[in-house]
Amino acid sequence: MADVNPRSDARRARRGSSRDRGQLLLVGALALAVLFVALALLLNTAIYTGNLATRDAGVDAAPAIEYAADSRAAGAEAVWSVNYRNNTTYPELNAAFRGTVGRWDGLATHHRAVAGDLAAAEVAAVTNGTRIEQDDAARNFTSAGESENWTVASGSDLSGVRAMRFAVDASELASGPSDAFHVNVTSGGVTRSLYVYANGGDDTEVRVVDDGTELASRSFDPGADGTLVVDVSNGSVEGTAYPELRTLLDVGAGTEIEYRYGNAAEGTYTMVLDEPESDLSLPGLVDDDSGQPYWTPAIHGATFEVTYRTSELDYEARIEVKPE
């Protein structure tokens, strides 16, 4: 090691000694520099580790799920829209439906593309159905031929009913359960019924019977307008949840829908069946909107192929679109 103390070797030439010291200082400084670099490196590593630890390691799949949910909602609205605006023939319904879904997809894809994601929702299949409706709120629930007890719809393939809603005038209902208006939905030998009648007071009783056994019976205040809205598909009456109602629509193939004591209720109703009119028997309905209960072509539901691609995610799903 070089000598740091010049006095211990006094005889050494002054010039040479100071040169050694200078060199040593330089080496010392270099060593210090190395040390600092090493420390900085260590600190840097610690920060980098912290950075890595807080980075989102997983693949963010939320946009893909959201896109699928958004396209389902848009599809449900499109079904509703074309059923009310283009309800003449199935080809027209289909064309209008594919058109509006295509326009939705075009806009949504444009927005997603800006974020660098490739998204698409395509109509894979459309289920043609039939909508049954009565618009005249002052008409009772008898058939077009004025029968009190009549079959609304039946068919060997009829296996799905959605959007079943009744708006009944509370003042026109039967005053007891014996001859009250009721809907019978029969499927696989099991009959489920929905009774609506006045329960003596100002309230209206809504009763659900499953194959002869009472499932639930609750009374509701029809409100100031005197109209009681029974939404079977949504499982609610006047906006209040009534989940038992949904059991009515839990049906398989060969479903039959009947009205009993149709003269004991007045108002409007609507429902959408999952078969085209040609595959159904609709004896009590007319095919035009002349104030009588009628049927019209409708889209029951559809299937979408949803694709969503990002740099780290490739998502494909087949989703069913069926409004309530």
């Binding site: 520099a33 190395v34 950075n51 997603r112 800006v114």
Partner: protein, 194 residues
């Protein structure tokens, strides 16, 4: 002998410095996003999650769309807003209150922007809330919103007006006049620490 030793040490040290500087220079680029800021990655992640959550909640509980429909037809602008949107704080809607509580009250600034596709197929932006230019460490959340013809514009007190979107003169045009679909817009929320 002594000098030779010193030279050797010097050479080794110099080599080490050279290699260390190289390693350091390579490493330091990976941390660059952090070095120039008071913000840390962790906070950015958290702000991104909060922004995402606020938008998702607003869409779910139905407060997002009313804010998008908080439009003054005669003025051709958001109610009581400047041409750049609201520049002093969020709009006086329920969603605006949530934004205030979630961000402004915690010292976090945000921009809320509406994007739509016009007739020519170009994407246009309309600022709703503009609290300045986001910093480099801003987090962004986006959400698609589908508007329908039947949606009603909102009065200054956020109650639905009698004007449905299908008959209104709104900033976004009706993309599908034949059906109830009005348009698909994107809402972008950018948040950053002030």
């Amino acid at each position: 002998m002594d000098r030779g030793q010193a030279h050797t040490l010097e050479a080794i040290t110099a080599a080490m410095i050279l290699v260390s500087s190289l390693v350091f220079a390579l490493q330091v680029t990976a941390v660059t996003p952090l070095t120039g800021s008071t913000s840390s990655q962790h906070i950015e992640n958290q702000q991104a999650a909060v922004a995402e959550g606020v938008l998702a909640t607003a869409e779910e509980n139905g407060t997002l769309v009313p804010t998008l429909l908080y439009w003054n037809e005669t003025a051709g602008n958001w109610h009581d807003a400047t041409n750049d949107g609201y520049v002093r704080g969020p709009p006086p809607t329920r969603f605006g209150d949530v934004l205030e509580a979630a961000f402004l009250d915690r010292g976090i600034a945000f921009d809320l922007t509406l994007y739509y596709v016009d007739e020519d197929g170009d994407r246009q932006r309309v600022p709703i809330v503009d609290l300045g230019t986001p910093s480099d460490h801003a987090s962004t959340a986006r959400r698609l919103v589908t508007l329908s013809d039947g949606d009603r514009l909102r009065e200054p007190d956020e109650s639905p007006s009698s004007t449905a979107l299908g008959d209104a003169s709104y900033v976004v045009d009706d993309s599908d006049p034949e059906q109830t679909l009005y348009s698909v817009v994107e809402v972008e929320l950018v948040v950053w620490r002030m």
